[in-house]
Amino acid sequence: MNAPILKLFALVLVLFAALIGMTSYNSVINAKAYRENTLNARPQIDEQRVHRGVIRARDDTLLAHSVKASDTLYRRRYTPAAKAFAQVIGYDFLRIARAGLERSRNAALAGERNELASIVDELRGKQREGDNVITNLDPRAQKLALSELAGRKGSVVAIEPATGKVRVMVSTPGYDPNTLDEKGVFSKLSTDDRNSPLLNRATQAGYVPGSTMKVVTAAAALDSGEYTPDSRVSGKSPVVISGTPLSNFSDEQFGDITLTDALTHSVNTVWGQVAEKLGHERMAEYMTRFGFDTDPPLDYPDAQMLPSGVYDKGKLLSPSSKRVDIGRVGIGQERLRVTPLQMAEVAATVANGGMRMKPQLTSRIVDVDGRTVDRIAPEQAQRVMSPETARQLTEMMANVVREGTGTAAALQGIEVAGKTGTAELNIAQRIDQPWFIGFAPRAAPRIAVAVTLENIVGGQGGIVAAPIAKNVMQELLR
């Protein structure tokens, strides 16, 4: 009977080999896929075990930190100062997942190291600790912008033109991040379609830009060499653009006026003709250079950024398409949708001599012991126009604030350059989307802003948005 016993043992060996094979598959070979399975909450739980790093403002104001929730787990807490930054900072809760900077800077905050470094740490008995994230955000200016919006829905973005540092990013209405993991709060906020408090309007909301878009058209006109600031174009109203008559605001009539004057007084018919003459290709080229049609290169989750551009039934449509009325794109109408961040980048690019910088929320990453692990250096995104074009355009925009539609943005003793916008959303009910984009000081710009508000009755950009921009710039230039 010994031969069958041996065979039986051989069978057992085969069965056990299959067990080891299956264990290898589960624990090593396919482990990564299992770890990434959406049903698997373990990776998130693991991250809650780590003492997550704090998030601070530019002036070291504490915004987010972690406290012990149990023996092994930590829980995220947000300071009162963080409330003004709700959407930018985002959140990190086990049962809700994460958003905002908490998501885009998760690797640093959770202290993720490469395999080797973590094995070394483990051998040294070092507990994994998260790194701290120091942002470029300015709590005072942020708070001021928030109060300037005064409960109205809208957004304010301020960027340092030379570095791309994002100093202000406001989106209203907001929420109290600390309450998010309370029962029912998140689902209530995320289904509130009337107010969309979780939406970061600065990066996610596509608004009609109105006349602020004329800055882009002007850049294309001057930089392509087709026009100079002194080129004269007829300002009579209406003119036929793409087969449909286009009128000026209040149907105002102008003679042959220079582009400078046309920007100062925001003459639709002039800029419509200019855009049409530049043509689809050239307009598309300059829009792409300004960053349209792609997610902004911000250190922020892709899921929370919307590319600016022409939208057709919810899908991006290239401005070079013949289905696009390029003349009306040139004056910020048509199906053009832009984010406040994009328009702030437009202003900042002109301010920075035509070089678009990568917008950055994070200033540096610091480890627990205070050593700087990563200093986020300013990064050039793309040259949009020549310095000469930028200089001419700055001059034209300065005129807008000096004597045109944007006088309400003027600062005492500091020259401001800017452009107003008023997107007429419902002409019958006079519902407008007021805009202001600009920068200061004109000669050596230190700050660029974009301000916009949703659905304001009779809300002209020069009256509603420009004063907000003025106050925010004033605070940031202090």
């Binding site: 009977m1 069958p4 057992v12 299959a18 264990t23 482990a31 770890r35």
Partner: protein
């Protein structure tokens, strides 16, 4: 060196392992490294020494490695349980003592000749079947009738029944193996056993099927029937008998699958563990098996270390259910990695090798079959539960011998060990005499 001295030396690594294991758990918990961990090791060593002395006095020639291998598994189980819940480990340690007492009792009672068991084979068989039917009086757990409550204790009779049935089969097949082979007929290219002896074999098959239907537990039935087939194969050396048996079992299992939704649920969960509709099902879904696999995926090659597996969060229901019983292998993989899990399987394999070796050394058919059957059911039990936890086969709840929490399991498996050592002692003595 004599067998018993070898055994004594082999126990040293087991004791070191338990001491090191408890120390690791204490360090992980940042407790003061009290002398408690050392005293656990000392108590464990004392118990093992006691059992060793019993063996030294009663079975001087028995296999020297079986007991230390079991000691390694048992102490490893204690450390795992201690890491999960100190109270579980204390309970298990008490059962460990009870198991060792019954172990010693079995050896002392049968030390002259274990073959007296043959005289009671029908009583033992009947007792085994009754044991299996007992839980039917109780309430089902996860759709299967597995345990029977005696006061506060949940008694799992299948653990004892597997030994009773192996004893009966070994004895019965010793009698009939010759006729089964000689009287066999070939029909349509398949060798069939003679009809008059087929009866009792069909009775065994019928019992396995009844078990399947009555206790509705595929795992135990698979274990019993697999043990039965292993014995028939070793007794007759006829692979065709085994194939017939497998076919019959498959028919039974298929029928049960068709009529029992719980079995269907198990198979569905096995095939599609990450299907959200199965995963989120409140009862009988794939949550358990999916979590078992996620837990193993956390382990990697080296594991996360003692106490690092995610079992539960606060007072919420556990993320990995039944971590101390069915899914203890997943916890082992999680905390000790592929290498730790493979090491545990290797210890089982070494034990199984000693079991089969004992069977091959034994001179009489009953002892051969007894050792083969006991070893085979233990091997199958490991395969059924580890295979279920790793998603190799559908999950059915049996314990991981000597490691899982459970009094019945530990006590029954110590009796199984006692019987193997009894066979071994006689076999090795006779082999030496020759």
């Amino acid at each position: 060196m004599t067998a018993r001295n070898r055994e004594l030396f082999a126990l040293i690594p087991a004791s070191l392992l338990v001491t090191a294991g408890f120390t690791a758990v204490f360090i992980q918990r940042n407790d003061l490294l009290s002398n408690l961990s050392l005293s656990y090791g000392a108590i464990f060593l004392g118990l093992c020494l006691g059992a060793h002395l019993v063996l030294r006095m009663t079975l001087p020639d028995a296999d020297p490695y079986m007991f230390p291998l079991v000691a390694v598994l048992a102490c490893f189980g204690l450390v795992m349980l201690y890491r999960l819940d100190a109270k579980l480990a204390r309970d298990q340690a008490q059962w460990f003592v009870v198991g060792l007492l019954l172990f010693a009792g079995t050896i002392i009672a049968l030390r002259r000749d274990h073959r007296v068991l043959e005289r009671y084979r029908y009583s033992i068989a009947l007792a085994g079947i009754l044991l299996l039917l007992l839980p039917r009086l109780s309430h089902p757990v996860n759709g299967a009738y597995l345990s029977f409550d005696i006061g506060p204790l949940a008694f799992q009779p299948a653990e004892f029944a597997k030994i009773a049935i192996v004893i009966f089969l070994a004895s019965y097949l010793r009698d009939t193996r010759q006729v089964l082979v000689v009287g066999a007929r070939r029909f349509m290219g398949i060798t069939f056993p003679p009809l008059k002896h087929l009866g009792p074999l069909l009775a065994v098959w019928g019992t396995a099927m009844v078990l399947l239907f009555v206790i509705q537990d595929l795992g135990s039935s698979l274990m019993f029937f697999g043990g039965f087939l292993a014995l028939v194969y070793v007794a007759t050396n006829r692979i065709s008998f085994v194939l017939i048996g497998i076919t019959l079992f498959a028919i039974g299992a298929r029928t049960l699958y068709a009529i029992r939704p719980t079995i269907q649920g198990r198979v569905d969960a096995w095939l599609h563990p990450f299907d959200p509709s199965l995963y989120n099902k409140a009862v009988g879904g794939s949550f358990q098996i999916a979590q078992s696999i996620f837990s193993q995926a956390d382990g990697g090659l080296f594991g996360r270390g003692f106490g690092q597996a995610t079992i539960r969060l606060g007072d919420n229901p556990p993320i990995l259910p039944a971590a101390h019983t069915d899914f203890i292998y997943a916890v082992i993989t999680d905390e000790l990695g592929l290498l730790g899990a493979a090491a545990v399987l290797l210890v089982y394999l070494l034990f199984i090798e000693r079991g089969f070796k004992t069977a091959m050394l034994a001179t009489d058919s009953f002892s051969k079959l007894l050792a083969t059957g006991l070893t085979a059911v233990l091997a199958l039990q490991v395969f059924v539960i580890v295979g279920g936890v790793t998603k190799l086969i559908p999950l059915t709840g049996v314990t991981l011998p000597f490691i899982s929490y459970g009094g019945s399991s530990i006590v029954a498996n110590f009796i199984l060990l006692a019987l193997l050592l009894l066979v071994s002692d006689r076999a090795r003595r006779e082999a030496d005499l020759r």
